[in-house]
């Protein structure tokens, strides 16, 4: 399996990245190289082998459902690229 230009266009779109034609060429070659390299895994017999979901045997770590102080609103908003009336501001989403 190799990666085609169409594949790269598709995954760039899923990743919400815009590519120029030149970048499209470049990434198609590079991603093909890497995917071809990764194809060596297809030679390994993995029948009946359980996938590793977590390297430590930790499952469902819960905390008590208690109210705790959170960060200050103004503090949090300091990092927002655009804000208005104590909120993060975004372009109109619904017409």
């Amino acid at each position: 399996m190799s990666v085609s230009k169409e594949d790269v266009k598709h995954i760039a779109n899923l990743s919400k990245l815009n590519l120029t034609d030149k970048e499209l060429e470049k990434y198609t070659t590079e991603l093909s190289d890497i995917v071809n390299f990764a194809n060596e895994l297809s030679n390994i017999d993995v029948d009946g082998i359980k996938p590793t979901a977590h390297i430590l045997d930790i499952k469902n770590v819960f905390r008590k459902d208690e109210v705790q102080p959170s960060y200050d609103r103004e503090e949090i908003l300091k990092n927002a690229p655009s804000k208005d009336a104590g909120c993060v501001s975004v372009p109109k989403v619904v017409e």
Binding site: M1, V3, D7, V8, H10, I11, A12, L14, S15, K16, L17, N18, Y27, E30, L31, D33, I34, V35, F37, A38, N39, E40, L41, S42, I44, V46, I49, K50, P51, T52, A53, H54, I55, L56, I58, V61, R63, Y71, D72, E75, I76, K78, N79, A80, P81, S82, V88, V90, P91, K92, V93
Partner: protein, 490 residues
Amino acid sequence: MDLYSLTLTEVASKIKNKEVSIKEVLDNIYSRIEDVEPKVDAYITLTQKLAYERAEKLQQRLDNGEDIGVLGGVPIAIKDNICTNGVKTTCASRMLENFVPIYDATVIKKLEDAGAIIIGKTNMDEFAMGSSTETSYIKKTKNPWDLSRVPGGSSGGSAAAVSAQMAYASLGSDTGGSIRQPASYCSVVGLKPTYGLISRFGLIAFASSLDQIGPFARTVEDATLMLNVIAGHDKLDTTSADIEKEDYTKALINSVEGKVIGIPTDFINDGINSDVKLAYDNAIEKLKSLGAQVKEINLEYAKYSLATYYIIATAEASSNLGRYDGIRYGYRTKDFDDLDDLYRKSRTEGFGDEVKRRIMLGTYVLSSGYYDAYYKRAQQVRTLIVENFKKAFESCDVIMIPTAPNTSFKFGAHNASPLEMYLEDIYTVPVNIAGLPGISVPGGFDKNGMPIGIQFIAKAFDEKNLLQVAYTFEQNTTYHKEIPTIEEGK
């Protein structure tokens, strides 16, 4: 002898015994930085103001007879993907160029509780993706052993800062070798602890099933002190292991008598530089002469670690980096038509080449139709690698391999092929895949005078055996005492 050339242990003891004031130590390290940093470029941000304020408070407490901690007054550098309250944390990316965290990572709290002084944030590959620190959006860090070569990566700034004596120790993060490989390239000690031993709360995520924070230091003893401070369970990190705290300094015993060292011969013969191989063979002889038993072991699946790694790590990265959308924090594009355009332009302009490559690769291996062939298969091979190591550790205490197949390369050497650069990680990624602890210790120099690292690997949570063998190797060799020239090489 200048203060900056002391080890962490030595300077901490001088401060404690009031042979020097904390201010003198800070003055000295910042003047060293002023001299050397223009050539090395290890730091993104220096935090003099905060550091001096802290120094004054710590000194007062010390003068009042208080115990200010094992790292009391010691200047430490932090990789710029670890959140520091009120201090810019950029991940060396345009995306986070102006990001100022409003909280401290747990490791920062622990360091400060132990009396450390954060003196600055260090350069790295963008979002920790790279093996040379060349993908940084901010600057290029040079290798103190030859300024025309890379320091390794992704924690290149943290390694170079310690190597060039601009910090007594530093923190880095290691997802596929990002602490051990630059430690090897810069001739310092770099420790990647067991997955789960160190809290990652406040570490900006790259690949969550692999990422681990760890220390750089000039000696194994110093790295052990750092580990003692930062290890431990944290309820803010649900992947942190809830185990009893240990005193790792008890492992600093100069003996390998009776220890069994595993040598995976089949794994290390391909594509290894002859000088590195020679250093490795010398290391085997050295440990034998010190009474260790050397045993050949089989790691037949280790060679598949790289392919496994680049599937799992990029898949996780594509998910983790989905949060950078230009809305709540981080870079937002100036001109956009609508919300979707804002997302696309912010991400396209905010991320560099390598980050985009990995996001797309990760998206590819997770996408419909490819998931089973790549992601699921990689997770299955991961199981085989984990089992491989488990079996190997039934017959040995510690595994020894080189840290990297080659020594530091010139800037731009791998620009043409990202895959070639990925291959440099072949000896470090298996450790992350299996969640094990690994350490790189100075182990020699190649014919150009560039450092070579020897890597030790132990069972999960068996840092004690790991450190004892690494310490013994270091105490019976002199490579760690060599100091870089901080000049352009031949």
